[in-house]
Symmetry: C2
Subunit: 551 residues, 2 copies
């Protein structure tokens, strides 16, 4: 029996192991989570990113299953892409399974997938791995961590977690089970570390319920609440407080409607008959009896909230006296987009409540003291922070050391790097390709860094197209140059500068007398001459595209 286990984080933009982790023992691979990521600012035009599975493709070992921690997009969204290539049973808790089914139905993969349910307290065998899900609290119900045991020992993957003493569904983390797993012995703890920069404890979701009660109590008009479609707990909080104040609730937005229908069916959303109505029915109530829940808390361009803010939504029109609650904190990179929405809502006379002024959101992730609690209960030999950027990983190392994990037993992971754990210690034994796969339009993986670099260049100073016809024999200009610019020159400037540029090109081709034309020579000459000229005149460097026709 082998005594080492290998762990390979396979997804994350900037963050490590955020979306997918491979656990390899003997001749088998088990996958923990399979999510997708959203592009960073400079990935121009990219819609979303799925993990790079080169490692799995190149490995001869079979994937025996996917075990899923919870139902958020960054943990389940990759399945619709990756199951097409690597099909294996998918294990999830009931709500998570419901959310996966919604995705796979859209992708027409539901029939082809072997979906299985597991629950807190179960012990399931996936290939040679024994998997024990244990309940943790997060901003979605039915989240679990996973204790994965193989011949080398137990690897614990926390998933996203915090220790909320008063969660919305009153189901706290399974402390007893966590304690048992820790007592039995944990070789490696893979821990969510994204909120490690905050000291102390993350506030309970209960705090948000209290804020909702305060806002509902002082508000007479209609209330619109924006949040993530998958934040089922937040939706429950809104419904509960709405009922306390005699308001009815409608949800608007396709993903939200799907998720609410599914969560209701599975019993994860509780409300009295008559509370949930369609938006059309809601409109018949007086404003003080209305609550509308919409998506768009991150400023997404096509979201319901953004369309409301821009007075562009088909049915939901903002009215004087409306109160809009943005129940989320902008994810880094989204601040400006969210701020624009807030400004636009204010401009239309709405009262806007957002996280900078009231506690309408709390993080779903553990702060430093909760990390310490998890470490103290699990007592792992090795600790590995995941789901964070370098700054969070380093911070987690300090936290782990503060509760006695020796520095050499803490591994800072990298995407694509193969970590090996066993009796001889822990180390990175191999680095494998790990570039995210870009999804742009209908293409998967057909957009690469060259394309992105070109978009970046084009977005800075635009482009200049120059078309000439030259005589094949003499190398002389017979037609053109024609100059076409986009995103570069404007109005008055354009006429002035392109006239001079045309004259310059004509001179450049005249000086060289009779010499046989060579396409690449003319090409280089145009690029160089115009590049220099344009930089001198405008201080800008457009992408220059010469088109040389030989006649």
């Amino acid at each position: 029996m082998e005594d080492t286990v290998r762990i390979i984080p396979l997804g994350g933009v900037g963050e490590v192991g955020k979306n997918m982790i491979a656990i390899e023992y003997a001749n088998e691979i088990l996958i923990a989570d399979c999510g997708l990521a959203f592009p960073e600012d400079d990935m121009l035009g990219v819609d979303l990113l799925i993990p790079d599975i080169t490692y799995l493709r190149q490995s001869r070992k079979p994937v025996v299953g996917y075990v899923i921690s919870h139902g958020h997009e960054d943990h389940i969204g990759g399945l619709a892409y990756i199951l097409r290539e690597i099909n294996a049973p998918v294990y999830a808790t009931p709500l998570t399974r419901g959310l996966i089914e919604v995705k796979l139905r859209e992708a027409r993969l539901l029939d082809k997938t072997d979906l299985r349910t597991f629950q807190d307290g179960d012990v399931v065998h996936v290939g040679g791995f024994t998997v024990e899900p244990f309940r943790v609290t997060h901003s979605i119900p039915d989240a679990v961590g996973l204790a994965i045991t193989c011949g080398a020992g137990t690897v614990v993957y926390t998933g996203d977690f915090k220790f909320d003493p008063t969660p919305v569904d009153a189901r706290t983390s399974n402390y007893a089970r966590i304690g048992q797993i820790g007592e039995r012995g944990v070789l490696v703890l893979l821990s969510d570390c994204v909120h490690a920069e905050t000291e102390g404890h993350t506030p309970s979701e209960q705090v948000v319920t209290d804020t909702f009660r305060r806002i509902f109590g002082r508000t007479e008009g209609r209330i619109i609440i924006a949040t993530f479609a998958s934040l089922i707990a937040r939706i429950q909080q809104a419904i509960t407080v709405a009922e306390e104040h005699g308001r009815k609730v409608a949800v608007v937005g396709r993903s939200l409607e799907n998720n609410v229908a599914m969560a209701t069916e599975l019993g994860y959303l509780r409300f009295r008959p008559g509370t949930m109505v369609s938006f059309r029915e809601l409109e018949r109530e007086s404003p003080e009896n209305q609550v509308v829940i919409v998506t768009g808390s991150q400023g997404e361009p096509t979201s319901v909230l953004n369309r409301i803010a821009n007075q562009d939504h088909r049915s939901v029109k903002l009215r004087e006296g409306d109160t809009v609650i943005i129940s989320a904190t902008p994810i880094p990179g989204n601040e400006t987009a969210v701020s624009r929405i807030i400004n636009n809502l204010f401009r239309q006379g709405a009262n806007v409540v957002y996280s900078a002024i009231e506690r309408v959101h709390v993080s779903g992730h553990a702060s430093a003291d909760e990390q310490r609690l998890m470490l103290n209960m699990m007592k792992p030999t090795y600790a590995v922070p995941i789901h964070g950027e370098m700054r969070h990983l380093v911070r987690y190392r300090q936290i782990a050391m503060s509760v006695g994990v020796p520095e050499e037993n803490i591994v800072i992971p990298e995407n694509g790097a193969v970590m090996e754990f066993g009796p001889d210690g822990a180390s990175i034994v191999e680095r494998t390709p790990n570039n995210f796969v870009f999804v742009d339009g209908v293409s998967v993986g057909d957009v690469d860094h060259v394309v992105l670099r070109d978009r970046q260049l084009l977005s800075q100073d635009g482009m200049l197209l120059v078309v000439v016809s030259i005589d094949r024999q003499s190398g002389k200009l017979v037609a053109g140059p024609d100059l076409i610019s986009r995103g570069f020159l404007y109005g008055a400037e354009e006429a002035r500068i392109t006239d001079d540029a045309r004259a310059l090109v004509r001179r450049a081709f005249k000086h060289d007398g009779d010499s046989p034309a060579e396409w690449s020579w003319a090409h280089r000459k145009l690029k160089h001459t115009l590049g220099q000229f344009m930089y001198e005149r405008t201080g800008r460097r457009p992408m220059i595209l010469p088109v040389v026709m030989e006649v």
Copy 2:
């Protein structure tokens, strides 16, 4: 004598009146501040923005002077552009004047400008206006608010301010003067409101000194501090604490070096002989005696800190054991850039201290209770929030109402909108053009929204160039089509799709039999045919640029 005064905010991206405010009484205009702004995310390739002075150009009234509140870029940076067109005396306190001189020297405008010094406590006459600067605390020394009196009454412009009880230079706001001005009667208070979302008081700069002491006390290696070049107070704090710990200090970066030299000469930076050395001299000290101050706390691509983080700086190389303090909070929109730098510094083994984990920065702006204090002391008839986005303006209105300013006496300003104040009340009487002027490379105002929209399109899905030669008589294709794409297609996809597209174009031109060629017909045909084809095949919509050569 006229009894109304007009106030027109002239600059700000998203924010109102952030960079320049015109105050018009009888036949004269006085300008308060003249700064520049930095582009938002979607202003692709734009370097900076200067206020639109269309209003001043169209007015027949002369500008009698510029009165400047403090020396930050967003309050003085526009002078180097706008003085060329509208020359008038510029009044500033000594440090602010020194910073303006640095800018005007670079712009070769120093000889042509009538620079005058005023100080806290002075009463100066600028045209028919009486201007009284009064000291306020901010994150730069020598900041003043301005009480501007004309026949209609007194307009108070706070500039950027907070009420710091223990400022770095020990010179608190001039409470007595503020009280006097308030007692005499204030018609309009124009108040900085950008930090109005925070309740209570902004912490004193002293808190940062305390944090520096704590960090210096526990650190053995070299310390690198990144901050804004104009944050003179922060530089003083770093120098003071360095001296306490027997360290020498070097500054690296042109703008920082200029500002430090000037502030030292004017007596705004105090240190013992031998403390400030060149970087070369500093390198001779052992690491525990070194402090390096650099620019780049906002993640600016060409800043010293970013070059250090990317191992690309000529002289400053990161070493194991270095501690980097980022003494600033990312301005909205810069979070991702700053986070990348933090990650890169950690990756190279540095210890990084930043605002998320320790108090190495405090805001230079007033929180809600400081706003209330200013309102209580000034007791204005009308209150106008400036320097904020809509969300801040609305928040300030709530604050002003909480201390008894009637709602109808609070005006929410707009850039370019002419506000009129007098015995008959306050109102917006006119809206004038106010688009920012983009500076891109060496061009001022030559980049407009069409150019930006093109850059936006190019950055999303790139471009596709199609070149054909058609017979002038028959309209038939005689050469091409040649297809060139940038930022659109990649590798394998490119070959496959462009082959099909070429065949498609050939077919499109064949079907039409003999018909006289018309350039615009061929142009439209190419654009339509290829646009549709590419969207079907890739889900993307590149900018399509047809080049039609008639032969």
